[in-house]
Structures are given as C-alpha cells and as structure tokens.
C-alpha cells in the first residue's frame, strides 16, 4: 500500500500554514496543567500557533487571554510559570479576570483615556476546558464542544488519571528538526519499539503490531463524510486512551511508598490526544510523562516533556531527584525517537518516494486519509 503522505506535507511552508489555520486554530489543544495554577494569580504562559497566551488563576477561575498588553504590545506575563497579578511590566496596566483593564496608572493626567473608552478595552480571551488537571485551549472564535473531539472513554480515562497528578512538575524542552506529524505517526507505530528502542523501552514492555483488517480496508477507501461534523467525527477516532501492554517485570521503587497509585494494573498506559499531546505511564500508575509537540515550522518542532508522579501521600525530600531520574530514563527513549525522526525528515525532498505502508499501519492510514482530505480541499472542521 502506498501512503497518501506526499513529502510536501512535511516540507511545504504553505501547507504548514494551512495546517495551522485548518487544524491548530480550530481544534482543542493541550494548554497546560491545572496543577501548576494552584492559587490566585498563578499563571502559565505559552505560545500557541504563534499567539502568546497567558493562562491565569483568578480566585479559582482559570482563564486564557492573549498575553499582549493593549497599550504597547508588551508581554504581560514574561515568565513561563509564576504567580503575580496580570499587570504589564512596561507601564503597569492592570487586567482583571475578564481581561478588562482594571487600572491605568496616571490615566487622567497622562493618557486622557475616558472611563467609557477604558471599559471597552479587553484582552482577547480564548476558550479553555479542563479535563481533570489537563487544560485544553481552543483558539477559534466559535469553538466546538471538546466532546466532539475526544471520545467519552478518552475523556473519562484522562480525567480519572489526571485527577491523581501531583503538583510537583518537572519540565524541559527539546528543539527537534522534524515535522510534528512524524512524531505521531511514530507513536501510532507499534512495530518500531523493538528496533528503535531495543536497548531501552523494549526491554521492559513488548509492543507488537497488529492488524485490524476492517480498518485497514476502510483506510483504502476515500473519506465519504466531508462535512464539518463528519470531519470532526472522523477526527474523534484519532485520540485514544488505553492500557497498551503488560509490564514484563514491574519493579517496586522507593518513591512508590510516598505516592498514591492510579489504578491497580501493571500496565503501560498511553493517552494520545490528536493533534499533538501524548501522555504515557510506564509503571502501572505511579508516574506520568506528558509530551507536547509544538509545530514551529515544517521541519521544526519543539517537544515539551513534563514529568510528574501521582499525588504524594506526604512530602519527601528527594522528590525532585526522583523526577529527574524519570526524566533521564525517558530521555534515552525520547532521544532514540528524535534521532530516527530527524533522519526521516533529513531524507525528505520534493521527489522522495511515497512511503509504502503495511496493514498494521491502519491507524496512520485513517489519519492521513482525513488529513489529506482536509488539506487538499476547501472542507473545514
């Protein structure tokens, strides 16, 4: 079988911009962790689809705004994570929980902005939705319900697990030289761990490719439902949550005594939220890693890696070093994936051969059927 993914989908700036417009500015995207916003004025900042965003806690109400001051376009919150009022550091304009301008110092003497004019000014706000402790943002002016993007069992499993997330979070970023789609094609490919991760992940977990003949056959047909609701319904199939494999040798680690456990199965869990968030739990419910792939250019993707355990039963002094050992452990696997994907990206060129797919790649085939329909037509979601 030939893949539908022409190399231009990974190389073209024009297609990258179309993706941003037709996918990333329409769908619900991972925005951050609620556990990082524990109190009044806690905030996180990020850049999503090129838009600086601040997500801030106002007395328990969490809101998302464009992080750009209405006065001189300065960033309002400048740190990645912190706790301070939503006040611009440039000229101290202060904003309230609805994005309104609460105070302009020396407004009457220096600005001569009337009260009525000030009342009309408001930061651009974006829709925010929390599933447990995972925050999703939608940049569209008319966001569709998140339930049209994620299946009930995905929402339920994400909510249940993320409600157990601990508030101590380790975070770093890798700057990758590949297209974001390669990461998710790789994640859906259960046949690669035994080759790419044979000295790391594959020693603890056995991932085996399987063929769903019905889906494999379906993927060969053109997509029939191309209305916005039809395309959304199809997209809903691309997110998943499941215990994917049994742990071969579940190990008891010292930190297990200090944290609660989510679930009771010695399994490897995966959550994949299309288009760009992946969560894994490789130890049967004691800790989680969250990978967020941020597309920057056709051949550049930032990969944010979060690590956190389940909730602590009590504080323990070595908790940050415990997270670091998790980070180092996963860096090996992440590094192996990054290396292989950068090699794939480096080999791409406009006349590169179309990839040949196996039947086990039926999930990727369904995604690319949807993706190419969206990219190559005027259809919208």
């Amino acid at each position: 079988m030939r893949s539908r993914m022409h190399p231009r989908y990974y190389l073209s700036q024009e297609i990258f911009e179309r993706e941003q417009k037709k996918i990333f500015r329409k769908v619900w995207l991972f925005a951050g962790l609620k556990t990082l916003l524990p109190k009044h004025n806690s905030f996180i900042t990020r850049k999503i689809c090129g838009i600086p965003i601040v997500i801030q806690n106002f007395d328990g109400h969490i809101r998302a705004f464009e992080n750009v001051c209405l006065h001189r376009n300065s960033l309002i919150q400048t740190e990645a994570i912190g706790c301070r009022p939503l006040a611009c550091p440039y000229h101290a304009w202060l904003y309230g929980e609805n994005g309104e301008v609460k105070n302009i110092p020396d407004c009457r003497s220096a600005y001569l902005i009337s009260k009525a004019e000030q009342q009309k000014m408001k930061l651009r706000e974006f829709a925010l939705h929390a599933i447990g402790n995972v925050l999703f943002i939608n940049l569209s002016e008319n966001p569709f319900p998140i339930e049209e993007q994620l299946q009930p069992h995905v929402i339920e499993m994400l909510e249940s697990s993320s409600n157990m997330y601990d508030s101590e979070v380790m975070l770093t970023t890798f700057h990758c030289k590949f297209n974001w789609k390669l990461a998710y094609e790789n994640l859906r490919d259960a046949n690669h761990p035994r080759y790419v991760h044979r000295s790391s992940l594959a020693k603890d977990v056995t991932f085996l490719p399987f063929v769903n003949t019905e889906c494999a056959a379906e993927g060969l047909q053109p997509l029939s439902a191309t209305s916005p609701s039809g395309l959304r319904a199809e997209m809903k199939r691309f997110s998943m949550a499941a215990a994917e494999a049994k742990l071969l040798n579940p190990k008891r680690l010292p930190f297990h005594d200090f944290v609660e456990r989510w679930g009771t199965d010695d399994s490897y869990y995966n959550w994949l939220s299309y288009p760009n968030m992946h969560i894994a739990c490789s130890n049967g419910g004691y800790s989680f890693t969250l990978e967020h792939h941020i597309p920057l250019a056709p051949d550049r993707t930032d990969l944010e890696i979060y690590w956190f355990t389940t909730r602590k039963k009590k504080q323990y002094a070595f908790s940050s070093w415990n997270l670091l050992s998790h980070m180092h452990g996963s860096r090996l696997v992440t590094g192996e994936d990054i290396e292989i994907m950068e090699k794939v990206q480096a080999a791409l060129h406009a006349d590169a051969p179309m990839p040949t797919q196996g039947a086990y790649e039926f999930q990727n085939r369904l995604v690319e059927r949807w993706y190419t329909t969206l990219m190559d037509t005027e259809h919208e979601i």
């Binding site: 990645a80 508030s167 975070l171 970023t173 890798f174 680690l253 070595f318 070093w321 670091l324």
Partner: protein, 207 residues
C-alpha cells in the same frame, strides 16, 4: 589504638582511606565497601561487628540521587551511634576561620577563601576554589575545577559539575545541578538542572 572507618564507595572512599592511612599511621584505618544494591537499599550488616565507641567514621559515596544516597548512609551510621569526622586533605589550603561540618570532604589542592563555610556531608573535590565567605550548604557535590566566587551561596544537595563557575554573591537554590560549563552570574532557582544532554534547563515547579 583508635579505629577510623571509611565507609561507602567510589573515588572519595579510596582517597580518604589512602590519605588517612598515611596521615594516621598510629590508628587502624579500615575500608568498608557499602553501596546500594539492586533494590536501592544498603546492607549494613558489615557494620554489626564495629563498636562505635572505638573510633570515628567517614561516609564516602558519590553524588547519586542528588547526594541523597550518601546522606541516607550517613544518617544510618549515625543512628547506629557512630561519630562522623570530616576529611580535609593535607594539601588543601584551609584558613583557620573556615567552618567545616561533619562528614564534609575537602579534596587535594582545594583553596578555601577566608570565612568559608562547608556544611555537613558536602563534598569539595580536588582543585576546587571557594571565594571568601562562600557558603556550601549540606550534601553538596563540587567537582574538580569548580570555581565559586566570594560570598556565593550554594544550596543544599546541589551538584556543580566540572567547569561551572559561580560568580560572587550569586545564590544557587537547593537541589540544583550546574552541569553546563559556564559562568552562572545570576541567581538560580531551586531545583533547576543544567545537564549537557539537554538543550534547555530542566525546571521543577510546584511542590
């Protein structure tokens, strides 16, 4: 005859054992290898035959797990009643007004500025230079070649790798790892990790 027990593993164990053997020929210096097993715990059986009243001990172990394994072993021997000594290499330059805590390690050729303070269980490997009034808090690990400026404050459990230079009066929060060979001329928030295998610092938020 007084006993001196050097307990743990790694290069510091060998160094203390060797130096104490030469420095205290009148004492019985014993080397006891004690490293964590596959289950990450110590088997302390080798200490059962020792009488804490007969001598002093030094716990030498590397920086694994943010120096917590060395601290864990140190606490375990203290609970058994052993008295801990610090180790100061004869070739180190240590002003008389330096304060050095129990089980601290001051390696060969280190130069400590006047008024320095090295808290318990901190390890200052060979050739490190500490500026005047610098403060190393407990269970730090400073590798060979690290430079710490006057009045700098290094938080508990920090690891400073080769080539790290901390500017005068800079405060490094606890549980940091300064692994990028560079000048750190601004305060570093607690639990920040600079590791050469990562392109960006690793940060920890919340608690």
């Amino acid at each position: 005859m007084k006993s001196r027990w050097v307990v743990g593993g790694g290069v510091c164990l060998d160094q203390v054992y060797d130096t104490w053997g030469r420095t205290y020929p009148q004492d019985s210096v014993q080397r006891i290898e004690l490293v964590p097993g596959d289950d990450y715990t110590f088997d302390l059986g080798a200490l059962d035959a020792l009488d804490p009243a007969q001598g002093a001990m030094f716990v030498a172990l590397d920086e694994r797990f943010g120096n917590f394994k060395r601290m864990e072993l140190m606490q375990a021997v203290m609970e058994r009643g052993f008295r801990l000594e610090s180790f100061v290499s004869p070739s180190a330059i240590v002003p008389t007004n330096t304060i050095i805590g129990p089980n601290a390690f001051i390696g060969e050729g280190t130069v400590l500025g006047t008024g320095c303070r090295v808290d318990f269980n901190a390890v200052v490997r060979d050739g490190v230079r500490l500026g005047a009034g610098a403060h190393l808090r407990s269970s730090c690990w400073l590798e060979t070649g690290v430079l710490v400026g006057d009045g700098a404050d290094i938080g508990a459990h920090c690891i400073l790798r080769m080539g790290a230079i901390v500017a005068p009066r800079v405060k490094i929060g606890k549980h940091c790892e300064l692994g990028w060979a560079r000048l750190y001329d601004r305060d570093v928030a607690a639990r920040t990790i600079f590791d050469t295998r990562y392109p960006e610092p690793i940060c920890v938020y919340g608690d």
